[in-house]
């Protein structure tokens, strides 16, 4: 009976550790997706001159959740045609942000991009998206460093913590 309890505790804490480490790797995964999405938005704008709502529906199909939710919500708001593109962008961010692993820095970058989206000519739009991409690149590098540093640590912490708990309880 004691042994079963000990195994359960170790399993549970290991699982907690894995989950914890996933949130770290999740951020860099989502950052990669967001970058891919913005890159294809850039291509749609610069080479296709596609209107935003059409471009967003293309992007939705290319990237995974939760990034696609953001573009989907943005597209729906544009099609409804109320207010400005910036308002639609900000509202979509509010809605979707809680499902993402992003931090404050990414929010700032996206906010800046939203302020100019769809209001300038192609060159200007391209510059703004490039700028956002550079910022995201930096965040991604940082996220990757964190991932390397902490991912393994959280996992082993989970296992070792479980063992510690078992030893203390015995």
């Amino acid at each position: 009976m004691k042994l079963l309890g000990a195994v359960l505790i170790i399993l549970a804490s290991t699982w907690a550790g894995v989950e914890w480490s996933r949130t770290v790797s999740e951020r860099s995964r989502q950052l990669r997706q967001l970058k891919a999405a913005l890159q294809s938005l850039e291509a749609e704008i610069v080479y296709g001159m596609t209107p935003l709502s059409v471009a967003c529906s293309h992007i939705c199909r290319q990237v995974g959740h939760p990034i696609s939710w953001f573009f989907d919500s943005f597209r729906k708001k544009l099609d409804a045609g109320q207010g400005t593109a910036y308002e639609a962008w900000m509202e979509s961010m509010e809605e979707v942000w809680k499902y993402t692993a992003f931090k404050q820095e990414e929010k700032e970058v996206m906010k800046q991009l939203g302020a100019t989206i769809g209001q300038h000519d192609r060159e200007h739009e391209q510059k703004q998206i490039k700028l956002a991409l550079i910022h995201l690149e930096r965040e991604e590098r940082e996220a990757r460093d964190n991932q390397m540093k902490y991912e393994r640590m959280f996992k082993s912490l989970g296992v070792l913590g479980g063992i510690l708990l078992v030893i203390l309880l015995i």
């Binding site: 704008i45 001159m49 209107p51 935003l52 709502s53 471009a55 769809g118 000519d121 739009e125």
Partner: protein, 311 residues
């Protein structure tokens, strides 16, 4: 009209909803200028409508709403249109733009800070070209020039003639034909995303916003039209392309600025074309009894076939 309402700012739309259905169908233009009153042209007369008992002044906000709606929130997508100064919207209506122009190497690059909008309501006059049919069709369509001063309804006439040619006419036993349109100024077909907004029949192919001379050659090479329709020819390279088309066995229907056949003889780029006798019919329009008055129909020697006023 309904399509045009969709791109208007909310306040302006509200004002237009005050008009009755009947009045609304007679609106020709809706003009908006920032900080100046809204102007609506009905039957050639300006109207300055009221909102809540006051003359309505167009605000900056109205203008940015309008731009957002015209561009679907994507200004970059309007680059070509901002260069040309107008946007064609669904229904074939046209929104003319004016404001601060940006140039690059002496050419217009775009209009920025748009301060004036002019929504011109397109009205297709179905059947306006029917009186012409018996003169222009004799076992087959003839090469035709439609001649007239500005605002005499040349393009409207050409559009309806195109429709008749492409649809055919069961009563007169005229079979339908493949028609190619080179629509440099997007006026004949009024295309949105390449799809004609006016009723032109099922057998029409349109090269939208394409330079005429080049477009005619493209059509001949790739689309094998039986009839080519071109608006406002006049430059030297147009004439060359026309000679090419006629010798390729394609029938041509074109419009030209001018009041009478003598004007054509005086223009060096047109002289050759007229003298070669390639054009078997010349239709002269005038504005005497309103746009679309048929002044005369002449054959290639300049002899009149008919002289009667029809509206």
């Amino acid at each position: 009209m309904e399509e045009a309402l969709r791109v208007l700012p909310e306040n302006v739309r509200e004002i237009l909803c005050q008009y009755t259905e009947m009045e609304r169908s007679t609106i020709e233009e809706i003009r908006m200028r920032i900080n100046r009153p809204l102007e609506i042209m009905i039957n050639g007369k300006p109207n300055f409508p009221l909102l809540n008992g006051q003359t309505y002044f167009i605000s900056k906000d109205d203008s940015s709403q309008m731009i957002n709606k015209l561009s679907h929130y994507s200004l970059y997508a309007l680059e070509e249109e901002l260069k040309k100064g107008f946007v064609t919207i669904e229904g074939g209506h046209r929104v003319g733009l004016a404001g601060k122009v940006i140039t690059l190497n002496g050419h217009v690059k775009a209009i920025r800070d748009i301060a004036s909008f002019n929504v011109r309501i397109a009205k297709q006059k179905l059947g306006i070209a029917v009186p012409l049919v018996s003169y222009l069709y004799a076992g087959g369509w003839t090469n035709t020039i439609i001649l007239g001063p500005p605002q005499s309804g040349k393009t409207t006439m050409l559009r309806d003639l195109t429709r008749i040619m492409a649809e055919g006419d069961n009563v007169r036993r005229i079979p339908s034909a493949k028609v190619g349109i080179v629509d440099e100024r997007s006026e004949i077909a009024g295309c949105v995303l390449g799809v004609p907004q006016h009723r032109l029949g099922d057998r029409v192919d349109v090269l939208d916003a394409c330079p005429k001379a080049e477009g005619m050659m493209m059509m001949i090479r790739s689309m094998s039209p039986e009839i080519l329709v071109v608006d406002e020819i006049g430059r030297k390279e147009d004439s060359e392309a026309i000679v090419e088309a006629i010798n390729a066995g394609i029938k041509l229907v074109v419009t030209v600025h001018g009041t009478s056949m003598d004007d054509l003889h005086r223009r060096p780029s047109m002289q050759g074309l007229i003298n070669s006798g390639s054009f078997e019919r010349i239709v002269e329009l005038s504005r005497k009894d309103g746009p679309g008055t048929i002044h005369a129909i002449k054959d290639k020697t300049g002899k009149e076939i008919r002289r009667k006023k029809v509206i």
